[in-house]
Amino acid sequence: MHARFPFRAGRALLATLAAATLAACGGAPGAAPRGRSSAITDIGSDTIVNLALAWAEAYAKVQPAARISVTGGGSGTGINSLINGSADIANASRQMTAGEIAAAKERGISPREVVIARDAIAVIVHKSNPVSRLTIEQLAAIFSGRIDNWSEVGGEDRPIVRLSREVNSGTHVYFLEAVLRGGRKGDKTLFSADTLLLPSSEGVIAEATDNPNAIGYDGLGYVTPDVKVIAVSGDGGRTFVVPAAATVIDRTYPIARDLYMYVRADAPPQVGAYIDWILSPEAQRLVRSLGFVPIH
């Protein structure tokens, strides 16, 4: 399975550092969760890793006895670690698949899903671009290569330069499924072959800042004031919504996803206490400071 993984600014580095720390400690599968009662192992999505680290740090002040080790590696890695017993918490930017749930049940683990935050994906263009709103259908046509010129969507007569994250990024996969394929199962639409696949968030933002032909997408938390954010319509053009904390919470902005933590239903009490704390208003305040959207 692919470890889907948005290569976000700075997070990648942290994820690597965290992974290195784990490797140095000899993260033997199955050793951590049962051995020491106070240590919680938290593995998974690189989208979430900074948030998880911030939570672990803040929780150390609330509950000095708790020890939480956070590692990146991707949603798939985290879920696999939960299934084989080497993680207490799996961070995931997507839901577990039916196959993964079956594999967990086979090992006597029934996973519990907790939505810990929401993440909006903003569509961005150059500041000077007169286009300020697009429907999901127009975005799908642009990114799959059916629309090649800005004049076809009410802009200037300019070629469209499509910017995307690398194919292994969870954000790329989410955008492909939710926008290009409109959530339809079995739809085989792909990104246009001339889509620029940039290795980092900075790459996408830098090109959209500099190039008046560009259109790209990125997590809301990474958008800078140097680019223009497009209002998106998910209902065929009746209402256009700009991504913001409020429109993500009331679910009117169409390109937003939940971020998850998975724990085993029979998790030790300190894991349950940690999850409860994460859902508390105090922990959710950290969510906003990292550019995500709190669940309430």
Binding site: H2, L197, P199, E207, N213
Partner: protein, 298 residues
């Protein structure tokens, strides 16, 4: 009569021998590892689809053609820029420049070699790409040409210093003889010195190209990484995706043992064979020149 050899001497000799062989052994081991991880591809993916025109690995499109083509175009572009510039610079340093300037230029060229490629890549993104876009009037500045220019900068130090060594090794009598026959300075350089150093200059070119084709970071940052297949002149000012950038961008997140993982090793294998071929070509020229008359670079 041969002196009886001390045991320490034997040990040292064995160590020297071992370190000499170790380079060969390492290359062989790397090759075997690439084979072990890459060969399962041919069982998992049909040969026809490896020659496909679409690279989209998360949906099972494993066409390598756009990646190989991307690497070829970006390297050829770099060679077109770096070889004339590098040879001209070497000629200037070796033949024209006064001694004090030569002493200044040689180390400066070597400083260029020490620049980390990520720094060049960053300069490429913030300075070169916007320049390419506005001056050529292309939709985006993240193009093959941008990558070629950066690669040329990286290959230049190798080309200049190896070619300069080769020119330096041409016996002084050649130049003196040529000048004595009434040739001008330019005729001497172009008709006598450069042909005499021909094989060394070719080696320099090959080593420079070898450096360019294996470069990753700068290429990944500025070529746009779009795995598209376009004809030669247009491909130069459009985005492209090289083999090295593909491996670097995707290897970190791929599940070990998956088809995608094996295909990435096949890409690595292809890259290994290409740079091996370039190096073989370079050293065969070196050997040929040794067999011939002229002295060669050290």
């Amino acid at each position: 009569m041969a002196r009886s050899r001390k045991p320490s001497e034997l040990v040292i000799e064995a160590l020297v021998k071992a370190s000499g062989w170790s380079a060969v052994v390492f290359v062989l081991l790397i090759f075997l590892f690439l084979l072990r991880e890459g060969l399962p591809t041919f069982a998992e993916v049909k040969l026809g689809s490896l020659f496909g025109l679409r690279w989209y690995p998360i949906e099972g499109h494993f066409g390598l053609v756009p990646l190989v083509w991307g690497s070829i175009i970006v390297t050829l572009g770099a060679a077109l820029i770096a070889v004339p510039l590098g040879v001209a610079a070497a000629l200037f340093i070796a033949e024209v420049a006064p001694r004090w300037l030569r002493e200044l230029l040689k180390p400066l060229v070597e400083v260029l070699a020490g620049l980390p490629s990520v720094v060049l890549g960053f300069l490429g993104v913030v300075a070169l790409a916007p320049l390419v876009r506005t001056s050529l009037g292309v939709p985006t500045g993240l193009t093959t040409l941008t990558g070629s220019i950066l690669l040329a900068l990286m290959a230049l130090p190798t080309i200049v210093s190896v070619a300069e060594d080769a020119l330096d090794a041409v016996p002084k009598s050649f130049r003196v003889g040529s000048l004595a026959l009434g040739a001008t300075r330019w005729q001497t350089i172009w008709r006598t010195t450069l042909p005499a150093a021909r094989s060394g200059v070719l080696t320099a070119t090959m080593l420079g190209i070898g450096r360019a084709i294996g470069e990753t970071m700068a290429v990944m940052m500025v070529t746009g990484n779009a795995p598209q297949l376009l004809l030669a002149p247009r491909a130069l000012w459009s985005p492209s995706r090289s083999m090295t950038a593909t491996i670097a961008a995707e290897m970190g997140e791929v599940a070990k043992g998956s088809t995608h993982y094996h295909v990435l090793f096949t890409v690595g294998l292809a890259l290994f064979l290409i740079s091996f071929g370039v190096n073989i070509a370079a050293s065969s020229m070196l050997f040929k020149s040794r067999g011939g008359g002229g002295r060669m670079l050290s």
